[in-house]
Symmetry: C2
Subunit: 388 residues, 2 copies
């Protein structure tokens, strides 16, 4: 079997950038990824590209993968746009991994980009809404806060999870984001303030939701046999798992966990020959705070129904047993839809190399990391395990 490693990563700051278009954001991340390759790399050596984006409509640009590679001055290579809602670039990363696994290519890039803040709010809501079930949920008036609120309520009812635990995720992730110069929401919040923020859909309040974000991320992957040409600190992709689920909640047997994410995690662990307790650090898909608690359970960091306890006990803080979202997560680092999956890889690669610039944000001696990227309300999911 061919080994696959990440040899370079780049990511823009996440935020609101009215002065930058989609192409500029992509090139910024790509340029950083090239510079991040320790021994240097000729961009002409990149043989294929997979680029995740929801293309949130306002850009009016199509054939986006070719457009991005053109703008990045790597024309002519095969490039595809991958769209799986909020886990578009998680799947793009998986495609890049598989392209090298074929033995046909040595160097492949995975990217993600989203420009959300040039759309009026109403339009953004429309575009995001289509990533869940449209016919039975969105057209009936439901939106993502409403869907995740139903999941949260059921979790509270069934397992005794508390609003304090759910919103505690936001407090932790904001605290981490303060130390991350690339994060969008760099301010601490108290549990009290978050609990008392305006209700979006009970039990979710304002600070339970991620922001609307512009951003891009790029990872350069390399066949194992060639990594020494590029870096002495390759980060290997040990496992890639992905799955789908019924889009509408009413079609699922249970709504207290996201089955697609659970299957994806199982497949990734199996491929890597690893267990949940082997993971030293994880970036998970906390589009809403409750989603991080679901992630704990999907990933086996906690038993079904017990995810809330990890928050109460501080186990997922930096310095805790299994630090989750040291970057600030989608919640506070930001969630540029199509870029999020590769953005998670960016964070984990730096954590595993031990070269996160901000010392207080480093997870010490991390050797094995995980990314968990979910599309819509769990219709799609992809999990990767990375290894030093």
């Amino acid at each position: 079997m061919v080994d696959v490693a990440v040899i370079g990563v780049g990511q823009t700051r996440y935020g609101t950038f009215p002065e930058k278009d989609m192409k500029e954001l992509f090139v910024e991340a790509f340029t950083e990824a090239l510079a991040d390759v320790e021994k240097g790399i000729d961009p002409k050596g990149i043989q294929e590209a997979f680029i995740g984006t929801l293309e949130t409509g306002g850009n009016q640009l199509g054939n986006v993968a070719a457009l991005m590679t053109e703008q990045a001055h790597v024309p002519y290579i095969p490039a595809s746009r991958v769209e799986n809602a909020c886990c578009s670039s998680g799947f793009a990363f998986r495609d890049a991994f598989m392209a090298i696994k074929t033995g046909m290519y040595d160097i492949v890039m995975a990217g993600g980009v989203e420009k959300m803040n040039d759309l009026p709010r109403e339009r953004n809501r429309y575009w995001l809404g289509v990533s869940g079930d449209v016919e039975w949920e969105r057209l009936a008036g439901t939106n993502f806060p409403g869907i995740y609120a139903m999941i949260a309520l059921r979790h509270m009812y069934q397992y005794g999870t508390t609003k304090e635990q759910i919103t505690g995720v936001a407090v932790k992730n904001h605290r981490n984001a303060v130390k991350n110069p690339k994060a969008q929401l760099r301010f601490e919040i108290t549990l009290e303030r978050a609990m008392n923020s305006p209700v979006l859909a009970y039990p979710l309040t304002l600070f339970d939701a991620c922001p609307t974000t512009d951003g891009a991320a790029v990872a350069i992957l390399c066949r194992g046999e060639r990594v020494e040409d590029f870096t002495d600190t390759p980060i290997y992709v040990a496992g890639s798992g992905a799955a789908t689920d019924y889009l509408a909640l009413h079609d699922r047997k249970e709504i207290t966990h996201l089955k697609a994410a659970t299957i994806a995690a199982q497949n990734a662990y199996e491929q890597a020959g690893l267990e949940p307790q082997d993971i030293d650090v994880a970036e998970v898909h906390d589009c809403f705070t409750i989603a991080e608690i679901l992630a704990y359970e999907s990933l086996g960091f906690a038993k079904e129904g017990e995810g809330g306890r990890l928050v109460t006990e501080g186990l997922t803080e930096i310095g805790g047993r299994i630090p989750v979202n040291p970057s600030g997560g989608l919640k506070a680092k930001g969630h540029p839809i199509g870029a999020t999956g590769v953005g998670q890889v960016y964070e984990i690669v730096h954590q595993l190399r031990g070269d996160v610039k901000e010392r207080e944000r480093r997870v010490k001696n991390a050797e094995i990391g995980l990314t968990h990227n979910v599309g819509g309300s769990g219709g799609t999911a992809v999990v990767h395990i990375l290894k030093r």
Copy 2:
């Protein structure tokens, strides 16, 4: 290296189906593909899906890959939407091929689907327009007929290609489509009628353009070692080549050929260890008639500038030296954007098996076939070589 074969294909009729939605079209093609697997197949054995669609906007559906697999009753498997404009499912087929090449999966499906005819014409024009260059071409008022007309004019000027040769492609492809019950435009046209049809953008007249089409196609791919479980007539994927190009014509050094398609073809031939003269039958991307002439040249069926002669000499007719678009092509079989690439595979698989139902449409003793699928005005392209 792992061998990869197509073991089953399905395709809806192409046309205008106001009574069917995107999901029904996809399931119809999927159901036929399952039934087409000679020794039968349990759909639960399908391990991953790649589905191409431009999602022409009117559907208001997102996370489409998960939605299609859900509807097809193959839930939970990894599924991704691939979008590369008009070659979306050509790239989805390539992804499925690569997924098996990794050695990680035995059975993977590639699909494509498009529902274009429930959009008002104006909206369709908008959605299609974004697949070319938006900033410099579309927003300046250019559309695809205009872009291909510029290419055609230059080809005429530079090489002496005639309007009769260009429009002759339409006459041939309509003639083939008459014999194809799954084609959209099943009527013959005379060269005189086509030449005198209304001008779209000189030199292209109405019959030089493909129609607006609803349709879907699915192919089931299998690891070589397991094909005997499913069929005695596997069709192997001998080569897969893909490439991109600058989106806007003014950025390209030459506009008389589509460089992405030429590179893709070279890569596919190289991988297959084959030459243009080895190809017995081809389905090529004739969104406009001039595009088929460009395809002849990209694929090495004719020298640069000499593609028009193949039409004059009838070499690409069924029964000619190298029959092209025996299905009727995009021009007359129809062009349901996202479905076109896998729809081409559907035709070639039947031609190579020798089981095309309509005897007069069969290319006799075809052993090696080729598909050529282009995105936008050549921003992306993908070529596959299939072998009996």
